[in-house]
Amino acid sequence: MSGTELMGPALKDTPWTFEEFPEGVPMAEVAVELNNERAALWAGLYGGPQAQPGEPAPRGLAVAAMMEAYIRAIQPRPPGNVHAGQTLTFFGKPKVGAVLTARFTVVKKEMKKERRWLTLGVEMFDGEEKVLAGEILSIWAA
């Protein structure tokens, strides 16, 4: 990140509809800490030794943090959205204790067979270092 203040989540009083998403511009930023509690939840689900503070976190833990950021970034959302696909490129490997910041941009909106296909770009940073980038492909419900 550039060190500037977070844009914050995109919050509304009513659920975000497909038509409302602004195409091509950053629309939300959310920070998530890879804290010890999160590492414990991960180890409880997937097994293996729990990564300790200061140790490299499993890559999937950053992906889980990205999903939390995604959920928090766009609220409220209509029930029934479907996560259809995902691309990711991995860069640095953050450590437990890092605070990751995710930025979301609507890459593409497309109607196909009466379904609302939404492609949301995500970039996630640990300070200035990029951790991951990719696209979340969803069928938006409304």
Binding site: P58, M67, V82, T87, L88, T89, F90
Partner: protein
């Protein structure tokens, strides 16, 4: 160094408890994952597991297979089938292009149905 030919299988037995725990991990408490009454009225008829629970199982399988010698560098997947809560998921993969470091990866249900499929790239660390 050469890349391993396969991604060693990794299993996750899903349950209402794992759905709740994954919800806590991702702040995703969509009732389709954690509310049996709501899910019973949905097109799925029952609770289904979070898609990225399976994605992260595949990522974890890759990381355990690769250890510190190989880095997972990218992935592209689609969630191809719903995963009823209570089913055991198994992640695996197969090297398809050693020069490019490309693997096909998948997550299956016990009957072999692929619920997630796609590819990853990997490179020596």
């Amino acid at each position: 160094m050469s890349l391993p030919d396969t991604i060693a299988p990794l299993e996750l037995a899903t349950s209402p408890d794992t759905a709740q725990a994954y919800g806590e991990l991702t702040f995703d408490f969509n009732p389709i994952h954690v509310d049996p009454e709501f899910a019973a009225q949905s097109i799925f008829g029952q609770c289904i597991s979070h898609g990225t629970m399976a994605l992260n199982l595949a990522i974890e399988a890759c990381e355990r297979t690769f250890g510190t010698a190989v880095d997972l560098t990218s992935l592209k997947i689609r969630f191809s089938r719903p995963m009823p809560v209570g089913q055991t998921l198994t992640a695996g993969g197969q090297l398809t292009d050693p020069e490019a470091g490309t693997y096909d990866i998948w997550v299956t249900l016990p009957d072999g149905t692929r619920t997630l499929e796609g590819s990853i790239t990997a490179a020596p660390a």
